[in-house]
Subunit: 612 residues, 2 copies
C-alpha cells in the first residue's frame, strides 16, 4: 500500500510565515496556553499519527464499511480504537471545544486536523460532529447541561450528532415535521419524528450518543423560525451523570453510499414508543411561536461550513500528493522534446506537470483562502478589539460560502485529474485516489448544497448590514492590488488580478440592480448566483496565493539558491503564476456570461428538459 504523505511544509509556511499568528497567540484566550513555538511540534506529531495510526485504517473502512443489524451499527474495530486514541490523547474535540482549557486557535487546530481529514475523512467526521454538539451545549446550554454532557463528549466517552434533515425536509429545513411536546418539567419535551442523513446517528464508538435535534414545539410557528433545539441522548443521562434508560431513539437503517463508507449515515426515529425525552436548549417559543433553534444551530455553521470545504481540500490534497509521487515512480514514454532519450518517469511529461500544478495551484489557493477564514474567525471570536472582531466576523461570513462550495466543487474535478495522472491503475482500488473521488463527492451537498451557498453569498452576505462587510471585503482586495501593483516580476499577474477585481465589482453592481428590480430581473439572481460565487472565490484565492508568492519571493532573495527551502519557495511563485494565468481568467469569462444573461435555461419547456 502506498504510504501517506502530506505537504506539512505548506501548513508550516501558512502558520509560521504567512498569517499573523503572533496576533492570534496573543489573544487573551490563548496567550497562556499556546505559543508560536508549539506549531512545528504539533504539526510534526500529528503528521506522524496521520501516517501511522489514521491513514492505515482508511482503506479498511472503505472495504468493510459500517454494518447495520437490528438497530445497531458496527464500525470496523480499528475505527473505534482510532477514535478513542485521538480523543483520549487530546487530538480531538477538546482542542476545538469552547469550554476547554485546551481550546486552540482554529488556525492551529485546523492545520493539524487537515492532515487527519486527509488521512481518513470518515473517521474525522465523528470527531467533528462531537465537537459541534459539545460546542452547542457549551454556548447555549445551562450550567447543568454543560456539567452533564461536555466532559464526557470531549474525552471520547460519548459522541455527538446534529439532527436537521428529514425525509421531506432537506435543503428546506424549515419544512421539518419532527415535533416536541411539553411535559410537566418545563425544560423536558417529548420528541417525535424521523431524521435522516445523520452522520454518526448510530455507532459503537462510545457508550452514549448525544443528539442535537431540531424539532417544532407545540405552538411553534411554521417554517424555520418555529424550530427549537433539543439535547436528546441515546441513553438518558441522570441528574448525577449516571446513565439511565434507553431514550427511545431507534436507528432504522443506514445509507449505502458511494463513498465515506465508514461514516455511518443513519436514519433515526425519535419517540416510536412515545418515550423519547429531549432537553430544551435556550428558551421556549415566544408568543409568536418563534424559537431560536435554527439560529443556534447556525452559530456553528460558519465554522462547520468552512470545515466542510476544508475537508474537500484535505482530500484533494491527499490525492494530489499520492499522484505526484506515482508520477515520479512510474516510467512511461519518452520526452516529447527529446524522443531519442530513454524512457522517463511520468513527471517528465509536460501534460503530467500541467495536471499536477493545476492541482497544486487549486489546493494552495484554496488552502490560503481557508486559513484566512480561520484567522478571521479566531479574531472575531476572541479579540478584545470589538471593531476589528466585527470586521473579521463579516469577512469570515463572506468567505464561508466561497470556501464551502468552491473547494467541494473543485475537489471532484481535481481528484478526477489525480486518477488521470495514474492512468488505468488509478481506476483500481489498489491505489488510493479512486476512494478519495468517491469519498469527496458528498461535500458539495453536505452543510447546504452549492446552490444554497451561492444564494447565501448574493442574497445575504453581499447585502447584510447595508453591504458594509462586503464593501470591507472588496476594499481589502483593492488595497492589496494598490499596494503590490508594481511588485517586481509579478506585474502581469497584478494586472490580471486587477482585471478580475473589476469584474467582481461589476457583477456586484449588476446584482444590486437585480435586487432593486426583482420583478423583472429576479429570476437572474438564482440563475447566475453560482457563477458569482466562483468569481469571488477565484479572485480571493488568486490574491491569497499571490500574497504568499510575494512573501516567497522575499525569502528567495534572503536565503539564496542553496537554502533547503529554495525549491519550496520557487514552487510557490510558479504556483501563484499558474493560478493567475490559468485559473483566474475564468472570472473574465464568467463575468461576460453573467452580463450576457442568457435565459435559455428558463425558457426551455419542461417537457423538453425532462426525459420520461
Amino acid at each position: 500500500m502506498a504510504e501517506f504523505a502530506y505537504d506539512i511544509r505548506d501548513l508550516k509556511f501558512i502558520l509560521n510565515e504567512w498569517l499573523d499568528m503572533d496576533e492570534v497567540f496573543s489573544l487573551e484566550r490563548f496567550k497562556d496556553n499556546y505559543e508560536k513555538d508549539d506549531i512545528d511540534f504539533i504539526l510534526n506529531e500529528v503528521y506522524k499519527m496521520a501516517k501511522e495510526v489514521v491513514f492505515p485504517i482508511n482503506k479498511e473502512g472503505d472495504e468493510i464499511g459500517v454494518k447495520y443489524e437490528n438497530g445497531q451499527v458496527k464500525l470496523p474495530s480499528s475505527y473505534v480504537e482510532a477514535y478513542k486514541f485521538l480523543q483520549e490523547n487530546g487530538w480531538g474535540s477538546a482542542n476545538e471545544s469552547l469550554g476547554s482549557d485546551e481550546l486552540m486557535p482554529l488556525t492551529l487546530y485546523r492545520a493539524y486536523n487537515e492532515m487527519l481529514m486527509a488521512a481518513c475523512p470518515a473517521l474525522t467526521s465523528y470527531i467533528k460532529l462531537t465537537t459541534g454538539a459539545a460546542n452547542l451545549i457549551y454556548r447555549f446550554g445551562t450550567d447543568k447541561d454543560r456539567e452533564l454532557f461536555i466532559e464526557n463528549m470531549l474525552s471520547g466517552k460519548w459522541s455527538g450528532t446534529m439532527c436537521l434533515t428529514e425525509p421531506n425536509a432537506g435543503s428546506d429545513v424549515g419544512d421539518a415535521t419532527t415535533r416536541a411536546y411539553p411535559t410537566d418539567d418545563h425544560r423536558i419535551y417529548k420528541i417525535k419524528g424521523t431524521k435522516m442523513f445523520i452522520t454518526g446517528g448510530e455507532v459503537d464508538l462510545s457508550e452514549n450518543i448525544i443528539h442535537m435535534v431540531l424539532a417544532r414545539p407545540e405552538g411553534g410557528a411554521p417554517g424555520s423560525k418555529g424550530l427549537g433545539l433539543y439535547i436528546v441522548p441515546k441513553i438518558w443521562v441522570n441528574d448525577d451523570g449516571s446513565l439511565g434508560e434507553p431514550n427511545d431513539v431507534t436507528c432504522i437503517g443506514v445509507e449505502h453510499k458511494m463513498g465515506l463508507k465508514a461514516s455511518a449515515t443513519a436514519m433515526l426515529s425519535f419517540g416510536e414508543n412515545d418515550n423519547c425525552r429531549g432537553i430544551l436548549v435556550g428558551s421556549p417559543p415566544d408568543e409568536n411561536g418563534v424559537s431560536k433553534g435554527l439560529a443556534m444551530m447556525f452559530h456553528m455553521m460558519n465554522e462547520s461550513r468552512i470545515g466542510t470545504g476544508h475537508n474537500a481540500l484535505a482530500q484533494m490534497a491527499a490525492a494530489y500528493y499520492f499522484a505526484s509521487r506515482y508520477a515520479t515512480e512510474r516510467i512511461q514514454g519518452r520526452p516529447f522534446t527529446n524522443p531519442k532519450a530513454g524512457r522517463v518517469p511520468l513527471i517528465k511529461h509536460e501534460d503530467i506537470r500541467r495536471m499536477l500544478i493545476e492541482m497544486k495551484a487549486q489546493i494552495e489557493g484554496i488552502r490560503a483562502m481557508i486559513f484566512k477564514g480561520f484567522y478571521y474567525l479566531d479574531v472575531a471570536e476572541h479579540s478584545s478589539d470589538k471593531e476589528k472582531a466585527a470586521r473579521c466576523q463579516g469577512l469570515a461570513e463572506i468567505l464561508t460560502p466561497l470556501i464551502k462550495t468552491y473547494a467541494s466543487e473543485t475537489a471532484w474535478q481535481m481528484i478526477g485529474q489525480a486518477i488521470q495522472v495514474y492512468g488505468g491503475v488509478g481506476y483500481t482500488e489498489e491505489y488510493p485516489v479512486s476512494q478519495y473521488a468517491r469519498d469527496v463527492k458528498i461535500l458539495s451537498i453536505w452543510e447546504g448544497t452549492s446552490f444554497i451557498h451561492a444564494m447565501d453569498l448574493v442574497g445575504r452576505k453581499m447585502r447584510m448590514k447595508d453591504g458594509v462587510p462586503f464593501t470591507n471585503w472588496m476594499d481589502d482586495r483593492k488595497e492589496f492590488i494598490e499596494k503590490n501593483k508594481d511588485a517586481d516580476s509579478f506585474s502581469s499577474e497584478m494586472k490580471q488580478l486587477e482585471k478580475a477585481y473589476n469584474c467582481v465589482a461589476e457583477i456586484r453592481d449588476l446584482f444590486a440592480s437585480y435586487y432593486a428590480n426583482r420583478g423583472e430581473k429576479g429570476e437572474l439572481i438564482p440563475l447566475y448566483a453560482p457563477r458569482v460565487l466562483t468569481c469571488c472565490a477565484q479572485l480571493f484565492a488568486a490574491e491569497a496565493i499571490m500574497d504568499q508568492a510575494l512573501l516567497a519571493k522575499k525569502k528567495i532573495e534572503e536565503l539564496g539558491v542553496d537554502h533547503h527551502d529554495y525549491a519550496y519557495y520557487v514552487g510557490k511563485v510558479n504556483t501563484a503564476k499558474f493560478f493567475v494565468n490559468n485559473i483566474l481568467p475564468n472570472v473574465y469569462m464568467q463575468t461576460e456570461l453573467i452580463k450576457n444573461a442568457d435565459k435559455s435555461a428558463l425558457e426551455c419547456p419542461e417537457e423538453a428538459l425532462v426525459i420520461s
Copy 2:
C-alpha cells in the same frame, strides 16, 4: 428501483431528420438490407429491451461484480444470459461485423447501441470487444481464419478481446515485451508474455475466448513498428473447427475497480508452460523487422475510440435522464421569484434548470458530433465515390480524438452534476447516478488517455497529408457560418460561432509555428495540446447543435405550437442557445491562455511539485 428512460426522440431526430440517411441507406453495402423505414422499428425494439432486459441487470452487476477463483472468472448469471440474448437475437456483434449480411450502417447500429450502453455499460463492453476482434480477423485474416472464428464469435458462442497493454507498457504500447517465437508452421507462433487491463480477458460468457494479441516476433524491430498481431484462442481451435486443448493462456487475476464492476478486467499470462500458440495475422516481419500489427489494430481504432466517447455520452445521458425525472418528483423549497407560493418540485428552481440544461446541451452537442463521426465513417468505408470517401475518412479521423476525449472528460463533470441535482440521495447507491459516476471515469483513460488524443490531434490529425483533411474540416466550419450568418433569431449565436472559429484558426497557425520552430517552442505543444482539443470539440459541437436548432426552427414554423413535437423542437433551440452562450465562450478564454503561453508548469521545480 427507478425505471430506465432514454431520449429516443433525439436519436430519431438525428437519423430521420438531421443526418442524410438516404445517402447512407443507398450505399451499395446497405441498400438491399436496410431502409429508412427500419429506423423507428429498430430503435423502439431496442428501447424496450434496454428497459426490460438490460437495465435491470446493471445494478446487480455493480453489487456482485466478477468473481475470480483459480484462474476462472464468474459473471453474474444474468450477464451471461443477457449477452447470449443480445448476440443470439441479432442485437449484438453481427450488426457491426464487416463480414456479416446483417452489417448495419454505423449510424444506425450505434444509435440503438447507445441505449444499451446507457442501460448497462459493463455488458456492452463484451459485445464491443467481440465485434472488434471479429472485424480484425475479417479484415486481415485468411479465408481459413474467417471460417474458423467469425461465425462463432458473432453468434455469441465465443467472445473476443484485444490484448495491448502490459504491466510496463501502457500509453507507450511500443515498449511491449510479449514475444512471438516462430515454429515449423510459418503461420503459427509460440506466444510468451503478460498482458493486463484486458476487458473480458477471462469470463464465463461463452465456451471460448479469441484473444487478438500484440507481440514482438523474433527479429522484430524495437518500438511499436516491430509488433505483430496474433490470434490466440483460449482453447485451441482445430482445423475442422472443433475445440482442441487449452492453449496455455492463464488468467492471473482481475482488477478491483471503482466501477464497471461486472466488466472483467483481467491480467493474462500467455505461454507459462511454453505451450501457447498464436496464429499470425498478416505478414511476418520484413527485412527491417517491421510488422504491421499495431497498424492493423489501429484500423479499428477510429471506430472504437469514437465508441469510447459514445459510451461516455450514453452514460452521462442516462444519468441526466434519471436526474431530470427526479427533479420533477422531488418536492423541495419554494420558488425564489414567488416565495409565498407553496413548495414546488426541484425543476421549478432556476439552478436545477441550469444544471439540467447544461447536461442536455453537452449531451446533445456531443451526440451530434458523434453521429457526424459515424456518418463520416459510413461514407468513408462504403461509398463508391472515392473522393468523397477519402474526404470523409479524413474528417472522421479529426473528429475521433475530439469525441473520445471531450465526451469522456465532460461525462465526469456532468454525472457529478447529476448527483448534485439529486442532492444527498444521489450519493447513495439506491439511486443510479453514483454508479454512472463510478462506471464512467475509466473512459478518459481507455483507448488512449486524453493527452494521447490531444497529441494525436495537434501532432497528427492537424498535420497529416499536408494538412488537407484539417483544412477541409475548417472549410466545413467556415461554410456553415457563411451560409447561416443571417439566420433568423440566431444572429448573436452565429456571431459567437464565428468568433470561436477565428480562435481555432488562430490556434492552428500558432501550433504550426511551434512545429516549425520545435527547438524553441516544442515544449508548448504538449503543454497546450489538451486545450486545443477542447476548443476544436466545443466549436464542432456548438456548430452541430446549432445546425440541429436551425432545422428545429423550421419544423416549429411548419408544424405549429399544437404539434406533439413542439416542445421537443423548442427545447432543441433553447439547448443550442445555451451551448453557444454558456459553453462555447470557453473557447475564447482557452485561446487567450494558449496565446499567453504561461510556462509555470514546466518551470516549477520537481521537488516542489512532488510531495514525499
